[in-house]
Every structure is written in C-alpha cells, then in structure tokens.
C-alpha cells in the first residue's frame, strides 16, 4: 500500500515528514517503509507499507519525531483480501479492495495528522497512490 504525505492546507503539495516510523499495533514492531526495508525514514513524502493478509484489518501507529518529540497517531486500515495469479514461479499475490482508512480519536487531541484520505480503494500494485495523509 502506497501512502503519500501532503500539506494540511493544500493536498496538491507534497509535504515530507521530518522523521517517521510506522509501528504495527499488535506486534509493536516497525514496518518496512520502502523496498530496502528501512524502518525509519527522514524527510520522507511517500512510503509503501504491507497489509495483513489473514485478517481484513491492519492497525498502524504513525510515529513522527520532530525536534526530539515523538507523536503517535493511530490509523486503522480495513479492506477485503483477494488473490491474483502472477506466474508459475511466483504463484499468487494478495490484492486488497474496498480499502478504508480511519484515524483513531485521541484524548486530549494531540494529533499531527489532520486528514486521512483513501485515493484508490483497490490495492493491486505498487505503482498507484492509495492513501494520502495530510499534516
């Protein structure tokens, strides 16, 4: 799933996050954010994170570090899992449809993420933008 970060006031402008980790809620482990498997990225405006195949939901904490201060926002992704045949050697890959993303409310509200917006609800390749996070 490809996520891009854009400006809170103007979604046409990419806005990098100073330092970002994305932590899976159940295992409390940081997810790989790019093809190299980096778990922390700085000045990043797009990431690719995996989704759970066996259940229709994946919960992530998006943890921003700005001037030494950490801020965690929780986003829940839900979807329908299917599979698609690739070829003899690779077999099948998972595809995700009906993607929705919901940010959890916090009390007191100290959220760095303003809006989570699903741009493309069908996650079938790594060539599209699926979710946009405005901050």
């Amino acid at each position: 799933m490809i996520i891009i970060f854009t400006d809170r006031n103007n979604e046409l402008i990419r806005k990098p996050v100073e330092s970002l980790q994305v932590i899976e809620r159940d295992s409390e482990t940081p997810a790989p954010l790019n093809e190299m498997g980096a778990q922390t990225l700085t000045a990043v405006d797009s990431i690719a994170i995996p989704l759970r195949i066996e259940s229709g939901t994946t919960q992530y904490f998006f943890q921003r570090t700005l001037n030494g201060t950490q801020n965690r926002d929780a986003i829940n992704f839900s979807y329908t899992v299917g599979e698609e045949y690739i070829n003899r050697a690779c077999g099948f890959k998972a595809i995700y449809t009906n993607l929705s993303a919901e940010q959890e409310a916090e009390t007191p509200p100290e959220q760095w993420i303003r809006v989570v917006n699903v741009r493309n609800p069908s996650v079938t390749s790594n060539q599209d933008i699926h979710v946009e996070i405005r901050h």
Partner: protein, 233 residues
C-alpha cells in the same frame, strides 16, 4: 612388350566372358522383389511406465499404434493418460487427464533387402481433456513483515481442454520378427489452451509442462510394439 599386351587382352576376354555369364544369371535374380509386410503395429510406451516407477509425482500410461498405407506412409497415433502431483515453493497442484494424438509418419530410411526399419518424421494433432487442482499456495510478498500461513484452497477445475500441433522424429527398429523398438522426440506448439479461472494450466497431459512466456512443449517416447501382419505387398 607385346607379350604383355596380348596377355592383358587375354585377361580381358576371359574376364569379359566371365562377367557375361554372371550377368545372365543375375537377370533371373533381379526379378526377386522383397515384399513389405502391411499391418497394424501396436505398442506401449515404456518411458511413461519407467517414469511412473521412478518419479513419485508422476503417473502415466500410453499406447501407440500405426497402420501402413504405402511403402513409406503410415497413419499413426497415441492414446494415454497422465497425472502429475507437483509441489513447488509457491504452489502445489495436481493435473490429471487423458489425451489422444493422431497424424501420420513418413519413413526416410531406404531399407536393404527385406529389412523393414524406419527413420521417420511425423506430425500429430493432439487433444487433451484434464482437470487441475490448486492444492496449496503461499502468497508472494515483497517482504516478510507479515507471514501469512499457506493457503489450501483445494480448488478443482474439471473439463479443461487443450489442443496442440506436434512434430516427431524417431526410429522404429525391428528387433525380432514383427517386434519393434520405438524411440522418438517430440516438439509441440499449443494451439488452444483452457485455463482454470484465475490460474494457469501448468501441465497438460500428453503435452507436458507449459511455459508462461511461450506455447512450446517438448516430449519423448520409448516403447515396444508388435506388428500384426495383415498381408504382404
């Protein structure tokens, strides 16, 4: 000098008369023609039986036959069943079905005397009816952050049909009276191939394994046949 020349002449005369005599008798022999036996040749493929014994993923049986039309042309065909139960890294599948191949063989070999062997090239149209089951698959993933368990859909697709064209090259050698050993190699091109929904026909009985990028198949056969002689001509 002249002595030698005359003796040489003598030699020619003697040799010439001797040759004349053999030529006279040979004319009678020339009328002998070696008759060819015409009949139906039926056999079994030992290669698939051997592979059934050696390869525990494979079961196959094939009979083959040809019928002589002229001195060099035969109509020929094969009939068989094959099933394969294969496990790979990403996919386990089973394919099972039967096939029929029909065509003709042409003998290029000029036999001496009464020999009746073949070095031949043949063509076939092949058709197979089969089923394929997807037993297991693992999801292909860019990374292993989430490790989903193997899936066991056990999804069976029946009534699949594929058609191909085939050329063969091989030998048929008479080792005992009317007993033949056959060896051939086969090159095939898929003409029409049914695919299970959302999947591929990974193996087609009679055709062999398929490839993602082309429609080519290869095969071989090694068998023993008996010719039921009908008549000589």
């Amino acid at each position: 000098m002249w002595r030698y020349v005359t003796s040489l002449l003598c030699l020619f005369v003697v040799a010439g008369s001797a040759l004349g005599q053999t030529a006279d008798t040979a004319v009678a022999n020339d009328t002998i023609t070696y008759e060819k036996t015409y009949g139906l040749r039926l056999g079994i493929d030992l290669a698939s039986i051997a592979r059934t014994a050696l390869d525990n993923e494979y079961t196959g049986f094939q009979i083959m036959g040809d019928y002589r039309l002229t001195e060099d042309w035969y109509i020929a065909g094969e009939l068989g069943t094959e099933s394969i139960d294969r496990e790979t890294n990403q996919i386990d599948f089973e394919t099972s079905g039967s096939f029929l191949k029909a065509g003709a063989d042409y003998n290029f070999y000029g036999n001496w005397l009464d020999l009746d062997n073949m070095i031949y090239a043949g063509f076939r149209a092949g058709a197979s009816n089969y089923s394929q089951t997807l037993d297991r698959f693992d999801y292909y993933q860019d990374n292993d952050f989430f490790q989903p368990a193997s899936q066991f859909p056990g999804l069976k697709t029946t009534g699949l049909t594929s058609i191909w064209a085939e050329v063969q090259a091989g030998l048929k050698v008479e080792v005992l009276n009317n007993i033949y050993m056959t060896l051939n190699v086969q090159l095939k091109v898929m003409v029409s191939e049914d695919q299970p929904e959302g999947f591929d026909s990974l193996y087609v009985p009679g055709f062999g394994r398929t490839y993602d990028t082309n429609a080519i198949g290869v095969g071989y056969s090694y068998g023993i046949s008996y010719r039921i002689p009908f008549y000589k001509k």
